[in-house]
Symmetry: C2
Subunit: 229 residues, 2 copies
């Protein structure tokens, strides 16, 4: 049974990696739809979401089955409950990619406001945060996860900078306001993706170090969760 359980855990890890890859692709395509002004790519992102939603439901059921049939203890228990949260965060990141694709479609109908530099750069960081948070999970690297938490500030600074720049455009010419607002919403969606990746990274630290760095609190040891056997 023990060996069988660890095989099931490995399968769960693989499913989470597949889901993360699908989500990363959704972000990359959403930004491509914006940069290349391509409605077809935007539609692709919107259609990909159904598959991501199905993956979330399947992984959730997989975790429930793992808990019900194996009744894992200590670090294995923590691993499975954290996987459920991480799965939920990945699905929400997918939703933000859809939001960006829909905003891109709106923007594609108008002339570009300016050459896009900051948003693709911000998207690159957010996307690498998703990838690295999942890597840190698969490879059991809490230090990498801690580094990801620090990158969240970098994305927040980009969001502030983009917001200020767009404000200048809006104040110089009221006709640019609707377009500028759509770009601001894209930036906000990327900022939320970075936030959710940070949540994942926090969970990874939690899984592997059995402590929480959430809310920048004193770490809470969970050693009192012990097997009854």
């Amino acid at each position: 049974m023990e060996r069988h359980f660890h095989e099931q855990l490995d399968t769960l890890k693989k499913h989470l990696i597949h889901m993360a890859m699908a989500v990363e692709e959704a972000i990359a395509c959403a930004i491509e739809a914006l940069v290349e002004r391509d409605d077809l790519i935007a539609e692709k992102v919107i259609n990909m979401d159904e598959r991501i939603n199905e993956m979330e439901i399947q992984i959730d059921e997989e975790c429930l089955r793992l808990l019900a049939l194996n009744q894992p203890m200590a670090s294995d228990l923590r691993f499975v409950t954290s996987a459920m949260k991480l799965n939920n965060d990945l699905e929400r990141i997918g939703d933000h990619a859809v939001n960006i694709a829909e905003l891109a479609k709106r923007l594609n109908h108008n002339d570009p406001l300016k050459p896009l530099i900051s948003i693709p750069r911000m998207a690159e960081i957010a996307q690498s945060m998703v990838k690295q948070s999942i890597d840190s999970f698969v490879n059991a690297e809490p230090q990498l996860a801690k580094d990801i938490c620090k990158r969240d500030d970098e994305v927040d600074n980009f969001d502030d900078q983009i917001f200020r720049e767009l404000l200048t455009y809006m104040m110089s010419d009221p006709k640019l306001i609707p377009r500028a607002l759509n770009y601001a919403l894209i930036s906000k969606n990327l900022e939320r993706i970075a936030d959710l990746s940070t949540n994942i990274a926090e969970e990874v630290v939690f899984i592997y170090q059995a402590m929480t760095i959430k809310h920048h609190q004193r770490p809470v040891q969970l050693d009192d969760i012990r097997s009854r056997s």
Copy 2:
């Protein structure tokens, strides 16, 4: 043991209700800070967040202990894992209340843009969605939870309406843009609170009907999760 376990579940429910009450209060105070133009109330919301974060960590540990020490099955297992997600959603709602309080503080330094009608009304709905989603959880009322999911559209419509109205202000006078943008961000935060309440309501349906209405999919039965005993 069985009786002891159900007492522990009741305690968990009580803790979640307390957390929900704290979060509801945070939303109410954040809107009061905005309407009454009161920085002190805004500060109160920001300070309340630490307590909400602590509550989240405690409830999370409580759930892990429940799983480790009792190894619940079927509906009890589903209840505890859903409680972990619900707890996470409540904490995020608390973060949005803090965002609103911070935006209120910024807005209090300037003249009001216009009498506030839509935002307090939208906040009322979002707040009642939080309350009802937790009520549906405590009283095992999946029908109430389904009604909450429908109210999400109502809040989305408010957000669209507020956004269009603010756009008119911005285009009529560029000096109003920074203020209007802050109001738009408050509306977006309320919309996210309604979304997260909808997530909670979906979890409640999941707990009590053992099926998922998430992503508006065909319900998935989880009957194959059975006790080994």
